[in-house]
């Protein structure tokens, strides 16, 4: 297949890192200056408490309000967390300068070596989150990546920026299993693609089906397997594909409240990540499986359990679920009180989902 698009996104990943390092240095510089003036160092950051998290109707995502908290070395209770924050900042600079990647788990253990031990993993994660909110970059921008890995398949050429692989290229059709979206991919530059859309799939079996049925070729799509809730590196990559390559994004998950939420978090983010603006893809479209599909296609289904109902009640009130087609579909769930998996389409044969269902749905959404 001829490459249709000459991509102009080169240098974006490098620029992000450069900007990230700049803000990391600014934090350290500020601390050094304050100490030199014999002032107790202090760092300001937006408050991440619930009373400062708002849903921005325009952006269709959670954002932080104006409330600012201040960590100061004058307060003995702040000293350790502030030192840990400055240390995490230093670790971030090190990772970027040495072009190495790390994980939250690593950070937890590295702190012990510095006699800055965290009580537990959540405490260490919290400091990294604080650093994100101070320097206004997700941790992936200073090379701290999640353990969970999604994968991708499709005609996309990337160029690595990680150490030892600088300049090396990869096409994502190389393995029929898909290629893992790890730190190296997340930090790569997009070179070229013939795809004109991105299809995000919750489950591994369905992802493999889409590859086997040549869905990527027939629909000219990049396929991404989230493996459940999409890790932040994956959400960030989806956004980049959408923003840098102008590819529309379609989201495909089980017909239950959990599947809905996997899609919603990709679209409008989570309250937990309200301090990071560039993790969302507001234009991404939920492509199914809808509650109405269960009826329309007479899909094999199971009864909603108590937890499902409770979760549905929660998301019905959630501001992120107020626009089309969410309220109607949620209402339908309450009516039929049933849920279905993506695999349920197999009752019509293995190719049905790609041949018929996907075709119809994409036509509906593109029109």
């Amino acid at each position: 297949m001829a490459k249709k698009k000459a991509v102009k996104s080169k240098g974006v990943a490098v620029a992000r890192k450069k900007d990230s390092l700049g803000t990391i240095n600014a934090l350290a510089d500020n601390v050094v200056n304050q100490i030199s003036k014999a002032d107790f160092p202090s760092v300001e950051m937006p408050s991440r408490t619930t009373d400062n998290i708002f849903f921005d109707e325009k952006l269709k995502q959670y954002v932080l309000g104006k409330k600012v908290i201040r960590r100061t070395a004058r307060n003995v209770k702040h000293l350790k967390p502030l030192t840990q924050l400055v240390w995490a900042d230093y670790i971030g600079s090190l990772l970027l300068k040495e072009n190495k990647t790390s994980t939250l788990r690593d950070v937890f253990y590295m702190a012990e070596g510095e006699d800055l031990a965290f009580e537990d993993q959540p405490e260490s994660d919290r400091i990294i989150t604080e650093l994100e909110s101070v320097i206004k970059h997700p941790r992936e921008d200073f090379n701290i990546f999640p353990e969970e890995r999604s994968s991708m398949f499709g005609d996309l050429d990337i160029e690595y920026t990680v150490k030892g692989y600088e300049g090396r290229k990869l096409n994502f059709t190389m393995s029929p299993d898909g290629m893992v979206i790890g730190p190296a991919v997340a930090t790569s530059e997009f070179v070229d693609t013939s795809a004109d859309k991105v299809i995000v799939i919750e489950k591994g079996a369905m992802f493999t089906r889409f590859v086997e049925e040549q869905a990527w070729k027939r629909y000219n799509a990049l396929l991404i397997h989230t493996a459940g809730q999409a890790p932040r590196a994956t959400r960030s990559l989806i956004r980049r594909l959408n923003v840098e390559l102008k590819l529309p994004v379609y989201l495909f998950a089980d017909a239950d409240p959990w599947g809905l939420h996997i899609c919603q978090v990709i679209i409008s983010g989570s309250a937990n990540a309200a301090h990071i603006p560039e993790l969302v893809t507001p234009s991404a479209k939920w492509a199914g499986v809808y509650a109405t599909d269960i009826v329309k296609y007479n899909l094999p289904s199971t009864k909603l359990n108590e937890q499902d109902i409770k979760r549905l009640q929660e998301i019905r009130k959630d501001p992120r679920y107020q626009g089309k087609p969410w309220p109607m579909e949620i209402q339908k769930f309450f009516e039929i009180k049933r849920k279905a998996e993506q695999e349920a389409f197999s009752r019509y044969g293995l190719s049905f989902i790609v041949d018929k269902y996907l075709k119809t749905r994409l036509e509906e959404l593109e029109s």
Binding site: I35, P41, R74, T83, V86
Partner: protein, 451 residues
Amino acid sequence: MFVSDNGTGVPPEHVPQAFGQVLFGSKYVLRQMRGTFGLGGKMAYLYGQITTNTPLRVVTSTGSKAYEFSLMIDIQKNRPKVLERRLLKKQKKWRGTLIEFAIEGDYYRAMPKIIDYLGQTAMVAPYANITFIDLDGRLVRYTRATNTMPKSPKETLPHPLGIDVENLQRIIEVSDAKNMLRFLRKSFHRVGDATARQFLSTTKLDPRRDPKKLSHEETVELARALRNYDGFLPPDASCLSPLGEDLLKAGILKELKPEFVTVESRKPSAYSGHPFIVEVGVAYGGGIPAGSISLYRFANRIPLLYDESSDVSWKAVNQLMNWKRYNVDPAVAPLAIVVHICSTKIPYKTVGKEFVADRPEIEREILNAMRDVGRRLSGFLSRRLSFEREKRRFDVFEKYLPKMAKYAASTIGLKTAPNIKPLLVKASALSSEVIEGGEEKGSEIEGSGGS
């Protein structure tokens, strides 16, 4: 046993009675004395004589000449038997008394109490050097911590409220007064002409009666009347010799080496015509073992070693004081309490003279003194607590500021971290604001050992 001191010495003419006759001593005048009847030393020798039948050797000098005596006690007659008396050629200026005699006993069983006794004596007599060499040649030495001595007690007449029939008969015997009025004025403490007349007017006795001619019944009646009359002036305390706050504190610091000590000398008080003064010290931490409160009891500067739990001080410490109110957990606190009672008559419960009765007047004084020192201890403990809290606070600054400076400097590629000393000075100023507070009386953060 060989004992020597550098005291005033004994005039040679008194030596036979002083060392060879039980119950020798004048009790017609009163003052605070270690013993009461002059019994202790002689009982020790008497026991030696009974068990070994060897004489007592006494060498004494009041400053000029020195004499050596060898004597025994005629137990039947209670008379001294002087075996030898000679004038010694003095080599140096020496004054004092030295005695030596043999005694049979189980030293190894008695040793712990002997050491306790000497150590506690050293506590209550911080102006004394005490050297003890035991049977095995072990040397135990208590060094003086001060050259100041407490003021000597003045002799005083007995107070009428403290008189019993026996006393009264002896006083009448030695009095040269020819009538009751004069007898009362000359023989009793704080009784003048007016008081004597007023007192006699409440009795059937004629002020002109010759006291030596009172019948036995009249003597008994007089003793009772004296004890029950409420018009006498209270006794004054010039006959007492309390240790004083400075000496008591020096003694406690020297022997217990506590972290904190405070003492309280109460004003003189009286029970039944007997003046007394209570002195209480409390010592905390340092060399004091934790676990339970150590109680040191003294009566007229004599350590009381036995029957602790029958003593009024034990009752005050363990039953009357609510230590929790003073920030002290008596079960774990490294706490020592020192109680010194001095009086012309210590109200011992038994003839063994090992524990003091819980006379309400004495109990009240002990308790008041204990509450005073308890409050000061409580103040010290809460100051120390806040001091420790501030120390821990400052430690946090000391630990984290250098790290913060180092990481921030490394991040932006600086070779050396910014100087955090000025910030640490600021941090310590933040800390000391909290612990500043007035020094209270008697408080010491560090035990100096009182050299």
